[in-house]
Amino acid sequence: MSLLQEEREIILGNEYVDTFDFAEVAEFVSNAGKDLFISHHFKTSNKMLVQPRGGFPTYKKQFALYEFFVDANVDVLPLTIDSNTRLNDYATAKKMLRLSEDNEMDMLNGYPLVNHGYRTTRKMMTHFNKPVSLRHGTPDARLLVETAIASGIFEIEGGPITYLLPYSKNFPLDKAFLYWKYVERVCANYSKLNEPINRESFGPLTATLVPPAITIVIQLLEMLLSLEEGVKSFSVSFSQTGSMNQDIVVGAVIKKLAKQYAEEIDCSDAAIHLVYHQWMGAFPTNKDFAEQLINMSTVIASMVGADKIITKTREEASGIPTKEANAKTVANTQYTLGILNGLPNIVDEQEEEILTLEVNAIMEAVFNDPADTLWRKVFNSIKNGIIDVPFSPHIINHNEMITIRDANKNIRIISKGNVPIPDHCYAYERGQCDLNKDTTSIVNDIIHDIGIMQ
């Protein structure tokens, strides 16, 4: 028996799992309909796929949510997981699920997939026969991902960096890399049986003034960590920056570099996709304004040429959205996509060149780390600040990089910390900003720049 299979049997021997039948699950994946695979839709569809967010504790409410989404002409269904499951606390999730079922009141902020189990959940997934995307935030997602694939969920979001640095203060980063290595291998193995399982990275990170160079570097590194384990379908992603031009530049550079770096490790046979997140920062409380913001995000996603868009709702500022509000965004987004025709082709060569040089310089520094494997090189690079994510709560993050918006609301690096931004790129970034102000006014600007959409 392989070491991986031994580990799988330990993981799936968990007391909250009702006997995992490996042979039956492999059989199910082999014979699953193509429509369940988002990788198949990416191949055959010629429109941007629309995917909302959403997860409720009970089977019944999740089913009802999906009915609303299907009526709104959804392309990809989400399955958002509750926060207890994300922290591997299945006992609390179980208790809260029972309370939710008994009291008609939601005691969880998502669907506790492990507690529902794959036999139950698979009925829902095959009933709707749409591709489903697993949305979570779990550093150790081994059991969750096994359960998801066995349920017919063939897109897995996340990664060791993007699901850790924005969400955790002290979960060990080296452990996260190893747990995600398991996930990549399981996804790669199942991909041999039918259409590939798609892996998607979480580009928004902290969604707080993250400069594009950092976003792209982390997207590329999670892509490489996934492809080197044999994953054949991967989505890089980012969220609306606040400047339309910067979004278009990021889209162009990330597409070009993802292809290039995949080729460099002889993985050009893998399909790479681009996902765009509607504004991930603080939303206006005025729900009509929120709809305008969402609509604008859709227009920008089209300009960027995204393969999939992930939507927000008019109720974003007030908590978990109702199924009605959630479905409304899907219908509105589909409408906007349908009438967006004759888009101009905008190229900003100077900005693209600067960003490309920045990304390549950081990637080179990561590759030059003396460690023997890619994940260790990345781990060391985060530890020594070559990669620095603004506003990450994690203790390993350096927190030395400072970013603000320029007059056109582009996110600019004014203090680079240990991140190896080439000198003339750094001078260019700083040159776009008014740096004569004292730090007190710069802090006030940062506060304003974070909340620009409110």
Binding site: N170, F391, P393, T439, I447
Partner: protein
């Protein structure tokens, strides 16, 4: 002057914490930022370890109220912390609360400076005023 700062309890609101660090640094303080999700013991341990003269605790989700009740008791277990300047700021009540009720309550818990929903720079101005006031008193002795 050395300052230890951080967000108390199970609060992970990181944005203001980072801005406090930047602003203190800009005002010439040497900052030891313990980040979000920090327990009271960790604050006092850090003060002893660094020899800080100021402890600035912040809270956004309001759970400081629960933690602050234990400040005096805990501080008494440490030696030589009598001259430590204790400051707390942010959103200091769960739900809504009035500053005139909240400030005396926290002073009673052992804080010298209490900033409930006060602008960051105004809060740090008050810290600097407090420090120079105390220095003047010392030199007049």
């Amino acid at each position: 002057m050395k300052v230890v700062t951080g967000v108390v309890g199970n609060d992970i609101h990181v944005v203001a914490n980072r801005l406090i660090e930047l602003s203190l640094h800009a005002r010439g303080f040497e900052v030891f930022n313990l980040g979000v999700n920090t327990y009271l013991e960790e604050f006092f341990d850090a003060v002893v370890e660094t020899g800080a003269e100021v402890l600035l605790i912040s809270s956004l989700n309001g759970e400081a109220e629960g933690w602050s009740r234990e400040v005096k008791l805990l501080k008494a277990k440490y030696k030589n912390l009598d001259s430590l300047i204790m400051m707390i700021g942010g959103n200091l009540a769960v739900g809504s609360g009035k500053a005139e009720d909240i400030v005396p309550k926290y002073k009673n818990y052992g804080f010298d400076l209490v900033c409930h929903q006060v602008d960051l720079n105004a809060g740090l101005d008050s810290l600097e005023a407090f420090i120079s006031d105390r220095e003047n008193k010392e030199s007049n002795k």
